[in-house]
């Protein structure tokens, strides 16, 4: 059913008149309830304090890069957890005098929960924390609020100092670890170098060059050896083909040669001279003598030969000179071969040595590279850690000197004079307001929920049947008479209710209640 606001107001007015007794009864009940609640409601006091977290400290830009200050906003964000944490709460309990009577753990827990509920921590902006505490004792409210702020600041600063010193310690420990490692690596490197002299940079290439050189030398020498051997074979062949003695040079030969020479000289002389010429005669004589001598020699040789004696030196045949030369060359060649073989053997030995050295160099190289790498990495980290440790030291000193992040109590807690929260007057006003609103709301709800018709037009709109008339209630004189009495009574009841609540409020103001 769609009603115009005007219709709703009119219908509500009519309805509330219609159900006037219910409305008045509810008014009285609601008021009584609210007044009772107002009387029973504990008086609340609250105090608040604001803490300013100094974010832009002068130290920070000065120490840029050298020290790190703890993030302020994080502190702010964690404020609630820190303040309502068990650590601070325990001290608050102690300070607020709650522990004067001994409490069981469970009671204590419940008490802490209550205090937590009454405490509000709000982060105003980025750097202001507001702590508010409510309670029924103004003195305790003041003290507790103050303590909250103090404890929070103490706790935060302690936590900060602890954090930075922990960081310093950690970094210091790490630095030591790396220093140890660095020392160890250095020692190992030294040992490796001293035990393995070849272990140095470039040894590998050197060994390779040397190996190549030796190998090529061996090959070359082998070649020479083969040549020399071939030459030897050729010489052998030649030597076997030559006679040891080629011709016999004897005195007879010498005589004959002399005779031949003289004969040719005689021939020449005869051309010019007569046989009687002295020179010719002399020569003829000479030839004759020589011929005689030759014969004598021949006889001596035959005789010696027959007797089996070795003819005299001038009587033996001469050695073959080619043969001699070949034999000389052969022996020289043999010497060459021997020396080449020796050289090959030497080169081979050197090669082997070089190979084994190469092997040693290789293994040493790998270890060396590993150690060097370790050493470099460790050294870098170590140096970095050293720098960091120094920064951490400065940070720690900052915190221990209470520089960097700082807390200031912007607005200290004050002793609350007037109670806050819901007052008796609120309850009173609420009673009057709700005393009217609740019955109206009930009637309004009934108007919408109840299918029974309360607005004449609804029939014609819903059923398309004309509404011939909407007849208001006909007040007979009798009804009017009793209505007047009733109205008087109801007004009296309402007035009494209001008067009662006003009286209570007055008593409350006068602090009688």
């Amino acid at each position: 059913m769609q009603l115009h606001p005007e219709q709703v107001v009119r219908t509500l007015l009519n309805e509330s008149f219609h159900s006037r007794r219910m409305v008045v009864a509810m008014f009285v009940v609601v008021n009584a309830g609210m007044l009772a609640a107002g009387l029973l409601w504990p008086k609340g006091y609250s105090a608040s304090t604001t803490i300013f977290i100094d974010e832009k400290n002068i130290i920070q830009p000065l120490m840029q890069g050298a020290a790190v200050t703890t993030e302020v906003t994080d502190r702010g964000r964690n404020a609630r957890e820190v303040i309502l944490g068990r650590k601070i709460m325990d001290r608050i309990l102690e300070h607020g005098g709650w522990l004067k009577v001994s409490l069981t753990a469970e009671e204590q827990e419940r008490l802490i929960e209550q205090i937590k509920k009454r405490t509000t921590v709000t982060l105003l902006g980025k750097s202001i924390i507001r702590i508010e505490y409510r309670d029924d004792d103004p003195e305790r409210v003041y003290r507790t609020t103050q303590k909250f702020a103090d404890l929070f600041i103490q706790e935060s600063i302690a936590a900060k100092a602890e954090e930075s010193s922990a960081a310093f310690e950690f970094i210091g420990k790490q630095t030591d670890v790396y220093q140890d490692r660095l020392n160890r690596t250095e020692e190992e490197l030294k040992n490796l170098r001293s035990s393995n002299l070849e272990a140095r940079v470039g040894s590998d290439a050197e060994v390779n060059t040397r190996l190549n050189e030796l190998q090529s030398r061996i090959e070359r020498t082998n070649q020479e050896l083969r040549e020399a051997e071939i030459k030897g074979l050729a010489l052998d062949r030649q030597v076997s083909g030559e006679a040891e003695v080629t011709s016999v040079v004897s005195r007879e030969g010498q005589f004959r040669t002399r005779i031949g020479e003289l004969q040719s000289r005689l021939d020449t002389l005869r051309l010019a001279y007569h046989d009687t010429h002295p020179d010719v005669v002399q020569i003829k004589q000479h030839i004759q003598d020589l011929t005689e001598e030759l014969n004598t020699q021949r006889e001596r040789r035959v005789q010696a030969k027959a007797e089996g004696r070795r003819p005299g030196p001038d009587e033996f045949a001469m050695n073959n000179p080619i043969y001699q030369q070949l034999r000389r060359e052969q022996s020289q060649n043999q010497i060459v071969i021997e020396s080449l073989k020796a050289r090959i053997a030497e080169a081979q030995r050197q090669l082997n040595e070089e190979i084994s050295r190469g092997k040693r160099v290789h293994s040493g190289d790998a270890r060396l590279a590993e150690l060097t790498r370790d050493y470099q990495v460790d050294r870098e980290i170590y140096q970095d850690l050293l720098r960091r440790r120094e920064r951490a030291r400065v940070s720690m000193n900052l915190d221990s000197d209470r520089q960097g992040l700082s807390f200031k109590i912007q607005e200290p807690a004050v002793l609350p004079v007037n109670p806050t929260g819901l007052q008796f007057s609120h309850f009173m006003a609420g009673g009057l307001l709700f005393g009217i609103l609740i019955p109206l709301a009930i009637l309004f709800a009934r108007l919408h929920v109840d299918p029974r018709i309360r607005v004449g037009n609804a029939i014609s709109t819903a059923l398309k049947v004309p509404v011939a008339a909407v007849i208001p209630h006909f007040w007979t004189l009798r009804e009017l008479k009793s209505l007047r009495a009733e109205q008087f009574l109801l007004v009296l009841v309402v007035a009494a209710t209001i008067a009662a609540s006003a009286t209570l409020a007055l008593l409350r103001v006068l602090k009688v209640l």
Binding site: I453, L463, A468, P472, H473, F474
Partner: protein
């Protein structure tokens, strides 16, 4: 000049503008058929005593003197509406409550009063709610014969059961002795004849039947068949749309004048 005309003239002098009787259609015919039609002037002569405004209020009837009373205004408007619908002829109007306590009798009683306010009209209220009769409270001679007596014994003179109420131009017929099964009475020829003869006897008369609640479907069907128009009364905060809809199905839509929404709460002296 006949006696009637003399009386009319006298009445005009007393009350000012009275509509001319001749202007009512069918009047002459009725006079010819019955021979002795009851006229306003004759009724005026037979008014025994008129009730004061306070008496009317005690009886739950509106008074023309309290014109500022919204109830009076509403009934006047309703009367005008009905007159337009009836085209100024005297008609039989059945007023029935949606259920018991809907205020059907109240509406019937006051509607009749509203018609009686009009000096050119008279009203007759017939109590047809035989189970819960209420009209006898308006009548001085409550023990006199009523509707059921007449239906039982047609020899009774109609004039004997029509009683004055104490309001000018307003007559009523009480229910009479209680009967168990009212349907039979309404169905009888006598009921029809009664209505016909009343119609003929009183020319400018509106006959209002104070019917039983609509839960008595049988009675309602019979009575609505006998009447020209039907008014259904629904009470504020009692009836739902569904109830109204199911009850209206019983009535011939052509006869339905509309629903009267009764007893809307009103703060007295507050409009």
């Amino acid at each position: 000049m006949s006696k009637i005309e003399k009386a009319l003239g006298k009445a005009r002098e007393e009350h000012g503008n009275l509509p001319a009787l001749v202007s009512v259609p069918g009047t002459v015919m009725v006079r010819e058929r019955t021979g002795h039609p009851e006229t306003i002037s004759r009724m005026a002569m037979s008014e025994s005593r008129l009730l004061s405004a306070a008496d009317l209020s005690w009886r739950g009837i509106i008074h023309p003197g309290r014109a500022e009373d919204p109830v009076v205004q509403v009934f006047r408007e309703l009367r005008t509406k009905i007159s337009v619908q009836c085209q100024e002829r005297n008609s039989v109007i059945l007023v029935t409550g949606l259920k018991k306590g809907s205020g059907g009798s109240f509406v019937a009683r006051n509607l009749a009063a509203a018609f009686a306010f009009d000096m050119g009209r008279t009203a007759l209220l017939i109590d047809c709610d035989l189970k819960n009769p209420s009209v006898h409270q308006l009548i001085d001679n409550a023990s006199g014969p009523g509707l059921t007596d007449f239906l039982d014994d047609p020899n009774i003179d109609i004039g004997a059961i029509i009683q004055p109420v104490g309001i000018a131009r307003y007559r009523a017929i009480a229910a009479g002795g209680l009967r168990e099964i009212p349907g039979e009475y309404f169905n009888s020829q006598n009921m029809r004849r009664l209505l016909d003869s009343i119609r003929q006897r009183y020319m400018e008369r509106f006959i209002i039947l104070d019917g039983p609640p609509m839960q008595d479907i049988a009675d309602i069907q019979v009575l609505s068949g006998l009447s020209d128009f039907v008014i259904v009364v629904a009470r504020y905060g009692r009836a739902t749309n569904a109830q109204i809809e199911s009850c209206l199905n019983v009535i011939n839509p052509g006869k339905l004048l509309g629903v009267v929404f009764n007893d809307e709460p009103r703060i007295p002296g507050f409009g």
